[in-house]
Symmetry: D2
Subunit: 397 residues, 4 copies
Amino acid sequence: MSLAQSGRKLGVAVVGLGGAVATTAVAGIEVIRRGANRLDGLPLADVSVPGLVDYRDMVFGGWDLDGSDLASAASNHRVLNDSQLGETSDALSAIRPWPAIGSGEFCRGVTGANKFEAPGHRAAVEAIASDLRRFRKTSGADGIVMINLASTERTPGDDEALNSLDAFERALDRDDPSIGPAMLYAYAAIESGVPYGNFTPSLAADAPALKEFAKARNVPVAGKDGKTGQTMMKTVLAPALRSRALHVDGWFSTNILGNRDGEALRDKDSLASKLDTKGKVLDSILGYHVEDHLVDIRYYRPRGDDKEAWDNIDISGFLGHKMQIKVNFLCKDSVLAAPLALEIARVLDLAQQRGDGGVQEQLSLFFKAPMVGNGHDPEHAFHAQERMLMDWLGAPQ
Amino acid sequence: MSLAQSGRKLGVAVVGLGGAVATTAVAGIEVIRRGANRLDGLPLADVSVPGLVDYRDMVFGGWDLDGSDLASAASNHRVLNDSQLGETSDALSAIRPWPAIGSGEFCRGVTGANKFEAPGHRAAVEAIASDLRRFRKTSGADGIVMINLASTERTPGDDEALNSLDAFERALDRDDPSIGPAMLYAYAAIESGVPYGNFTPSLAADAPALKEFAKARNVPVAGKDGKTGQTMMKTVLAPALRSRALHVDGWFSTNILGNRDGEALRDKDSLASKLDTKGKVLDSILGYHVEDHLVDIRYYRPRGDDKEAWDNIDISGFLGHKMQIKVNFLCKDSVLAAPLALEIARVLDLAQQRGDGGVQEQLSLFFKAPMVGNGHDPEHAFHAQERMLMDWLGAPQ
Amino acid sequence: MSLAQSGRKLGVAVVGLGGAVATTAVAGIEVIRRGANRLDGLPLADVSVPGLVDYRDMVFGGWDLDGSDLASAASNHRVLNDSQLGETSDALSAIRPWPAIGSGEFCRGVTGANKFEAPGHRAAVEAIASDLRRFRKTSGADGIVMINLASTERTPGDDEALNSLDAFERALDRDDPSIGPAMLYAYAAIESGVPYGNFTPSLAADAPALKEFAKARNVPVAGKDGKTGQTMMKTVLAPALRSRALHVDGWFSTNILGNRDGEALRDKDSLASKLDTKGKVLDSILGYHVEDHLVDIRYYRPRGDDKEAWDNIDISGFLGHKMQIKVNFLCKDSVLAAPLALEIARVLDLAQQRGDGGVQEQLSLFFKAPMVGNGHDPEHAFHAQERMLMDWLGAPQ
Amino acid sequence: MSLAQSGRKLGVAVVGLGGAVATTAVAGIEVIRRGANRLDGLPLADVSVPGLVDYRDMVFGGWDLDGSDLASAASNHRVLNDSQLGETSDALSAIRPWPAIGSGEFCRGVTGANKFEAPGHRAAVEAIASDLRRFRKTSGADGIVMINLASTERTPGDDEALNSLDAFERALDRDDPSIGPAMLYAYAAIESGVPYGNFTPSLAADAPALKEFAKARNVPVAGKDGKTGQTMMKTVLAPALRSRALHVDGWFSTNILGNRDGEALRDKDSLASKLDTKGKVLDSILGYHVEDHLVDIRYYRPRGDDKEAWDNIDISGFLGHKMQIKVNFLCKDSVLAAPLALEIARVLDLAQQRGDGGVQEQLSLFFKAPMVGNGHDPEHAFHAQERMLMDWLGAPQ
């Protein structure tokens, strides 16, 4: 275990602060602060780079439609065990989410009372920006980043309004319904000079208008859709199959999960949004189209916050002989996701210190649908993504 | 599909020519020569590097204790389907293994009548060298390489005789029983200036004496133990687990297989030799010792030449929460192995053309227990091995 | 192996004669007739009961929208291996399906040119009956049974016309579109005094009107939806879980299959019809409702006629502790189904000899949705079904 | 939930009271006594038969080499969750095992200080009998039964001394080393008129001498080797495969477990004793010998008290076509075992009330190697065993 010693304090403003991933992240930092001697799950725990903030120096605030304090939220999510709930109870109960900009339109499965009813888009953006200013002041942090950990929103129709910054600004003015909450948060972050990371599949900083905005303001942005379980495995296995010239005849992936995230995916539009980012990965790595690539996600309550993936891969080898690989991953969604969200926050903060604005491609390692600069193709192969990140960090591999 | 067009002809002298891997390799080249338009399973099929011999320009000879012609041997192994057996029947029936130097001492499960009873070690070496000379002449090949595809031999006691070339030479003179057949073949190859690749777990060119010999004569050697199914997957998955800081609490690997190779492993000493190369891989990749790393191999006849691996991996993630990954690989041993053996032969030949003698570390990608130069540590991570090979080849990645 | 020696000849008229199940059944009987010494897969091969026809004395005819001869159909389905195709080629090429009453309305995925365009329902029934008369005469069979092995039809709306024989007769007169092809075949069979078995999920003899008809005419009928892979396993495992008082918290079943049957299920209505019979089984066996019982079926071409099921079962044991069972069944659909279809034919014929008309509940063992007499509840537990059949047969268990 | 209301109190004297199964059973009864409203895992919870003791009226005593109180033992085994440990802590800490007759000779993996060093076999028997008398008196129970839940002992050599009661008595007199602790406990129980159930694979009441003794004294005895995870599944699946005439070509079973029981099995002789009872089941059910039936058990610490089984079953169906079934059972050993041990105790007590002495075959349902009367063959098929038990109980099925 190596903990960086930068002395720098980082404030993380989380969209969806009461969710399972966020409460796990906040509790985890608290456990580390109290002296945990294992840093499992944190990919950059062993990386020592100047400016990378120490885990113990991260503080949290953020928005949620559910206004319960984080101790009570964490207890509901059943990710932490009893001893961890107990140990972090004081710290977590002191944090209560700010009223959120929600939208039944964009995210059907989730509702809540802790809502800020803005009279329009511009007012919503101003409210978010004001929250950020207050958080920076009260937290005493040296830097602030925003991370989106909210539930998946539906994909908006392919709208003109999102294709350029000018069009987007006009759309904001007229409260255009094609601009969803995730985009309002991203816009407010960029406008406030706050680095923005999108861990959800929702369209946000990857809209052309917002990529343009981030570049113009030189604010680091990254996304999207955290790469945790099945897709992570896919991006680990597929490059090896390609390397061995084992042709993928078909890949059937099914998922069962039972948490709030799964419930949101019962809405067809949100599900489509999720499946879309899952589907493109394979062909990109293999270099050819796999017609029989199927991905199912099913809401299955007995799994709770655990998540289970079953993959069947059909391959052809030498002389056309057929083989099969089956992978059954019994994982815990929030346990895999929370540390990645923390690392994204730390790297975004480092990018800002380095004056490195716009899309942070080196964070591809943590995303299912990596945002890239204009004209670039996303890299999906796990080990190649890792190399990109390590090169950027300047860390020895 | 890209086939190199070097015009160079390569003769491959195979130890264990009648085995399932060898007959599959020979038949495969024949199918390609007859115009197959898919090169699945051949990792370097898309690599175009000057000097790398065209698959269609490979010819085969070799030794086996079973003197049956290759058509009849291939038919017994049941790897090829009926149509492939038919198509290659003429070509394979024309190849009949040369009498082999076998040893009941070193490889208990396998016997046969096609045996050369040498009066001693030196005579055995001379017989092998003479076979190589004859093969070079009759095949009209521009280059010759030797590949060991025979059954696993038992590991010799840690013998003084193997630790230096001088001691080895003296041991040859006195017919020391610590020198097994695989070492005699390797010695003969090196002495004849023929590059040598060891696809088996048997101790051969990796004995210090023979590494020294290969270096002195500037003959390329590589090994050992072809990395096909379960261990390949292990070296693909483990680096990703490390990268995600997911701690491996235990890894249980079991294998069922029903071919001649499996039968040989019923002998405890041969099995130990196999397990040994399988065991070291994991700790090396992870950087810590996994005490609960268990590997079982069981002879199970219904599987035939197919091979099935079931792996259970226990991991700890963020805050110590436990997860499990299970991988079930229904593979075909010879189908995975044969193309690797072919690539090893091609790369060894290229190394000799380049004047690159001694241990060829860049071939690590194809081995469970990669041979390395003195003072080097073997690289086990799949993607890092791939990069080594691509860098050496000078091929774009 | 025991083959009954009744001397009786049985003609089996198959709806969907060119399909994978039917051609496998016909070829299988031919292989047995030619002296095969293994009767694997035939559940009643060891049962010796007077009147049960010898497998070798079964002959086949039937309808199919595809008019190809059975040798060519079997070759397309890729169920039989090359040697079996060769051995049965002469016998199968001599059988060519009769023109079928098809309906794009009821079974969308399947079309074909070998169609009888009846001017109306009554004409269709008469055509089928005429085919049966001709088959009885030309085959020289002592008994005739009809088995439906066609693709799944959509479930008709809950129609008045199907609820009583009188209403059905009137609906036939006015060519009511709620009467689908499967019902026309079943009606024609019963009217002709020919026992009828429905191996598909389509609504046929289980419509109240047709059950009434079968009872009135004392014609044996049975159905429906052959119990082959996943559901068979479900009805084997669930009773044991109940017996051990292991509470089923959830059961997730997914299937991948790539044959014509799978393609038909891409139509949503046909799929719904299939899922419906799959869903009811579990609650009936357990005695309580499992809300998280999910069943997916996906068309996945690499599987071909093979079919793969993956089940995850979540159970609670003593003191509420959770456990999981996962079952992965790599099966061959037609290989499992064909022998069951043959046994159903034999038992229906025996029932007719015994004067046992109406619903044959003792055949429940072979069906996902067993037809039962009015007022009865279907038995789904595998072992209880087996006992019913053995008791009826009078065979020692 | 139905709880019998007999008013009868049953004392259960457990050999191995501090083990995971025993402490789980004792804690479970305490939880039920405190009003639990779910009786999951208890197979006879819904059976209402006069004389069958109410779970809440069971009290416990017994022997263990480890003298820790049961609260502390249960806490070490990590089977119960924190809330269950808390709830039962008072009751369990009041129970402390009596000094046990242990033998390093017979059970190598397990040692402990809470030992009664008897000067010889007769003294040991007398000490056990005296414990039973004291337990009967202090517990105020209406009936007493003894259940062996200790670790597996090695199988004794096939000794003359065990073949008749006379020989056994003489062997007791001379402290013959072929008589192990399990037999001493069984002898003492029978001599004391206390019904005896053997949940372990150790040789005890199934020695011919002790079966003779139990019959002579008309004391109910049952065993052996509780049927919990993999073997239970085997006896559920195999009868169905037989019923479908699916020929079993091979069955590979592997187990990983990490509790004290697993550690004991690291001793080769104890393991052999366990494997032996596992192996015979399959052939008996199928009616033919499966040569490729392999069973592995491996001690794997990450599994803790959980136990995981992976089975691969190779089957041949119609026309010899091959299929595979794979079953992965993630179970909890003690959670499955404890309720079975409780039911065995209740049924043994009922048998004694009914005057039904000697071997209780109707308890076969709960054992891997069911004890049967002389001349009988054991029934292994799960559903047939269930029927036997229900018939004996007189309960409606």
